[in-house]
C-alpha cells in the first residue's frame, strides 16, 4: 500500500513537471530575453538559449530611466488602482452575491438575471457613452472615474453567488434565532466560510485590475497617469519596438502578482478545512 502510494506520488510529480516545463517555455523566453539586447533575441530566429556572455541588467536600467524614471510612477499608479479596486470589489461583490444566494426575496431572480445579462455586453461599444457619462459626472481624470464603473463587476458577483448558494442556510438560521443581526450573520458566519472564494477572487480581481489599461488610459489625462501595461505598450510603435523595455518591464509587472498569488495561496487556499454539517 505504501509503496503504491509512493509510486503514484512520483508519477504525479513527473507528469506535472513535464506539463510545467511546456507551459513555462514562453515565460522562460520572457525571463532570459529581459536580460538580452533585442538584436540578440531576434537576430537569428527566436532565441531561447541561456547565453550569459550576452546577458546583463542593461534592459532593466533602461527601464528605470526611461522618461526620467516614469516607470516607478506607472508602478505606483498600478498599485494604487489595483489595491483600491480589489478591496472594494471583494467587499461589494461578496455582499451582493451573498444577498442573492442566501435570501429569498422579491426581485431576486430579476436582479440575478440582470447580473448575467450585464456579463454579456461587449465593452468596446460602451466606450463612447461611458466616456461622456464620466465626463458629465465630473470624474474625468480621477482615480474615482477609473475605479467606480468597475466596482461591482457582474462576473465577480456571479462567482460569489455561485459559491454562496452551496453554503447551508442552517448556520444563518441558527444565528438569527440567537439574535444576531443580518450584517453580522454575513460578516461572522458566512464570510469566513467563503474564504476560498475570497481567495480566488482576490487574485482574479487584482490581476484584472493590474492588467486592465484601456479604461484608465481613457480616463486619465497625462501619460504620468498610465498604468504599467499601457506604459509598456508605448514601447511598441509602428516605428519599431523597444523590446529592451517591453521584456524587462513585463518581468517587473509579473513579480507583484506572483507574490500576491503565493501569499493568497498560503492564507486562503492551503490548509482550509470547513466543519461538516452535523447530524
Amino acid at each position: 500500500m505504501k509503496a503504491r502510494k509512493r509510486i503514484s506520488k512520483i508519477l504525479t510529480v513527473i507528469l506535472l513537471l513535464l506539463v510545467s516545463v511546456i507551459i513555462l517555455i514562453p515565460f522562460w523566453f520572457l525571463l532570459i530575453s529581459s536580460f538580452k539586447p533585442a538584436a540578440d533575441i531576434f537576430g537569428n530566429g527566436l532565441n531561447i538559449k541561456l547565453d550569459f556572455s550576452k546577458m546583463s541588467f542593461e534592459n532593466y536600467m533602461k527601464l528605470f530611466h526611461v522618461q526620467d524614471g516614469i516607470f516607478w510612477i506607472w508602478f505606483k499608479n498600478s498599485v494604487v488602482i489595483t489595491v483600491i479596486q480589489t478591496v472594494l470589489v471583494l467587499v461589494f461583490c461578496s455582499m451582493v452575491g451573498y444577498g442573492l444566494a442566501q435570501y429569498n426575496f422579491k426581485g431576486r431572480n430579476l436582479i440575478f438575471t440582470l447580473v448575467l445579462v450585464m456579463l454579456m455586453v461587449p465593452g468596446d461599444i460602451l466606450l463612447i457613452p461611458m466616456y461622456k457619462l464620466v465626463t458629465n459626472l465630473g470624474l474625468m481624470d480621477s482615480f474615482a472615474g477609473v475605479i467606480l464603473p468597475g466596482v461591482v463587476p457582474a462576473a465577480t458577483v456571479f462567482f460569489f453567488r455561485q459559491y454562496a448558494i452551496g453554503l447551508p442556510r442552517d448556520y444563518g438560521e441558527a444565528a438569527r434565532i440567537d439574535g444576531a443581526g443580518e450584517f453580522r450573520i454575513f460578516a461572522q458566519v458566512y464570510a469566513p466560510m467563503m474564504l476560498p472564494a475570497y481567495g480566488a477572487m482576490t487574485i482574479m480581481t487584482a490581476m484584472g485590475a493590474w492588467n486592465n489599461f484601456l479604461w484608465p488610459l481613457i480616463v486619465m489625462r497625462s501619460d504620468e497617469n498610465l498604468v504599467i501595461p499601457a506604459g509598456l505598450l508605448t514601447a511598441m510603435t509602428p516605428y519599431g519596438n523597444n523590446y529592451d523595455i517591453v521584456f524587462s518591464g513585463s518581468m517587473m509587472s509579473i513579480i507583484p502578482i506572483i507574490i500576491l498569488f503565493l501569499l493568497n495561496q498560503k492564507s486562503f487556499i492551503n490548509g482550509m478545512t470547513i466543519g461538516g454539517i452535523k447530524g
Binding site: 502510494k5 503514484s8 510545467s20 507551459i23 513555462l24 514562453p26 515565460f27 520572457l30 530566429g45 527566436l46 461589494f92 455582499m95 451582493v96 444577498g99 442573492l100 435570501y103 429569498n104 426575496f105 431572480n109 436582479i111 450585464m118 455586453v121 461587449p122 468596446d124 461599444i125 460602451l126 457613452p129 461622456k132 457619462l133 467606480l148 464603473p149 461591482v152 462567482f159 448558494i165 452551496g166 441558527a174 434565532i177 440567537d178 443580518e182 450584517f183 458566519v189 476560498p196 487574485i203 482574479m204 490581476m207 492588467n211 501595461p229 509598456l232 511598441m236 517591453v246 513585463s250 509587472s253 509579473i254 506572483i258 498569488f261 495561496q265 498560503k266 466543519g275 461538516g276 454539517i277
Partner: protein, 321 residues
C-alpha cells in the same frame, strides 16, 4: 459559531421549531422585517452601479446601433439600415462561425482538464502544490504581447518553427499554420488553453475547498473507489462553480480578442482569425463606423445571451437552493 445562546433558549430547553414559536410577537416582527430588508441592502451597491454605469451606457450604445456617425460628432438616424447591412454581411457570418467553433473547443478542453488538475492539486498526497499552482497560473500573467511573439514564432510557416519541426519528425511537410482556417483554429485553441488552464483551475480549486472532507472519509470507509468519489461527491458539490466556469467560458469564447489580435491584428487572411471583437474594433476605430460597431455589439450580446440562458436554465441555475 452557533455558540451564542439567548436567555429564552436556555430557559425553555425545547427543540428549535418550538423555540421559535414561543418568541414574543413584537421582536419577531422586527427580526422578520430586518431579514426582509437586509437582502435589498446587500444588493444595493450592484443595483446603483449597474443602473448608472451599465444600463445607461448600454442604452446609449443600442441607440447608436441605429445611427451612422457622419463624422466625429455628427450622427444620423438610419433606422434599421445597419441591421440590414449586418444580415447581408458575409464577414458577420464568418465571425460567428469562428467564435462558435472556438467556444466549442475551449469548453471541451478548458472545463474537464482544469477540473482534473484542481482535484490533483487539492489532494493531500500531491507534493509541491504551491509551486505547481503558481506554474499553471503564470501563463495568464505573461502579457499577450509577449505570448503573441512566442506563439507566432512557434507557428511559423518555416520548417524551423517549433510546430513544423515536431510534425517534421513525423514526416509531414511544414504547414502554414496561420494561413488556413483549421490550423488557425488550432493555433488559437493552443494559445488559449495555455493561457487559461490555470485560471479555471483556480476557480475549481476554490470550489473544491468547500467540500467537507468528512464526505470523502465516509465514502472511503464505505469502500468507494476514487472514480465513484469523484462522480458522486466532487462533481455534484462543485456544480455551481462548474456552471460559473461554463457561463464564463461561453462568454470568453465569444469575446475572444487578444489572442486573435496578436496573431493577425485586425485583418486575418480570409478572416480566419476574425472574431466579434476584432471586427467591432476594426469597424469602430479602424474605419470610424461606430454605429455599425454598436450594431455588431448588440447582435453579439443577443446571441451570447440566448446561448447562456439556454445553458443555465437547462442546468437549473435558478433552482439551486
Amino acid at each position: 459559531m452557533a455558540s451564542v445562546q439567548s436567555e429564552s433558549n436556555r430557559q425553555s430547553g425545547l427543540q428549535p421549531q418550538i423555540r421559535q414559536e414561543i418568541k414574543t410577537p413584537a421582536p419577531k416582527r422586527r427580526k422578520i422585517n430586518k431579514q426582509k430588508v437586509a437582502p435589498y441592502l446587500f444588493v444595493l451597491p450592484f443595483v446603483i452601479v449597474f443602473l448608472v454605469f451599465s444600463v445607461y451606457p448600454f442604452v446609449n450604445a443600442i441607440i447608436m446601433s441605429f445611427q451612422r456617425l457622419h463624422g466625429l460628432d455628427d450622427t444620423v438616424f438610419v433606422g434599421l439600415r445597419n441591421y440590414k447591412q449586418l444580415i447581408h454581411d458575409p464577414v458577420f457570418y464568418k465571425v460567428l462561425w469562428n467564435v462558435t467553433r472556438y467556444t466549442f473547443w475551449t469548453i471541451l478542453i478548458l472545463i474537464p482538464l482544469p477540473l482534473v488538475l484542481a482535484v490533483i492539486m487539492n489532494l493531500d498526497s500531491t507534493p509541491y502544490k504551491s509551486f505547481f499552482r503558481s506554474v499553471f497560473f503564470l501563463p495568464v500573467l505573461t502579457s499577450t504581447v509577449i505570448a503573441g511573439i512566442v506563439f507566432r514564432f512557434a507557428f511559423s510557416r518555416e520548417s524551423t518553427g517549433v510546430f513544423n519541426t515536431w510534425i517534421g519528425h513525423l514526416g509531414i511537410k511544414p504547414v502554414d499554420w496561420l494561413d488556413s482556417p483549421h490550423t488557425a483554429m488550432f493555433a488559437l485553441v493552443v494559445i488559449c488553453v495555455w493561457r487559461w488552464l490555470g485560471v479555471n483551475m483556480i476557480y475549481f480549486l476554490s470550489g473544491l475547498q468547500s467540500i467537507p472532507k468528512e464526505l470523502y472519509e465516509c465514502a472511503e470507509i464505505d469502500g468507494a473507489s476514487p472514480w465513484v468519489k469523484f462522480k458522486s461527491i466532487t462533481l455534484p458539490m462543485v456544480r455551481p462553480i462548474t456552471t460559473y466556469v461554463l457561463t464564463i467560458s461561453i462568454l470568453a469564447g465569444f469575446s475572444l480578442f487578444n489572442e486573435s489580435y496578436v496573431y493577425w491584428g485586425a485583418s486575418s487572411p480570409d478572416d480566419i482569425g476574425s472574431t466579434f471583437l476584432t471586427y467591432i474594433y476594426k469597424n469602430a476605430f479602424g474605419q470610424g463606423e461606430f454605429g455599425y460597431a454598436c450594431t455588431l455589439g448588440v447582435a453579439m450580446f443577443v446571441i451570447v445571451m440566448i446561448i447562456n440562458f439556454i445553458q443555465v436554465t437547462v442546468r437549473g441555475l435558478f433552482k439551486e437552493d
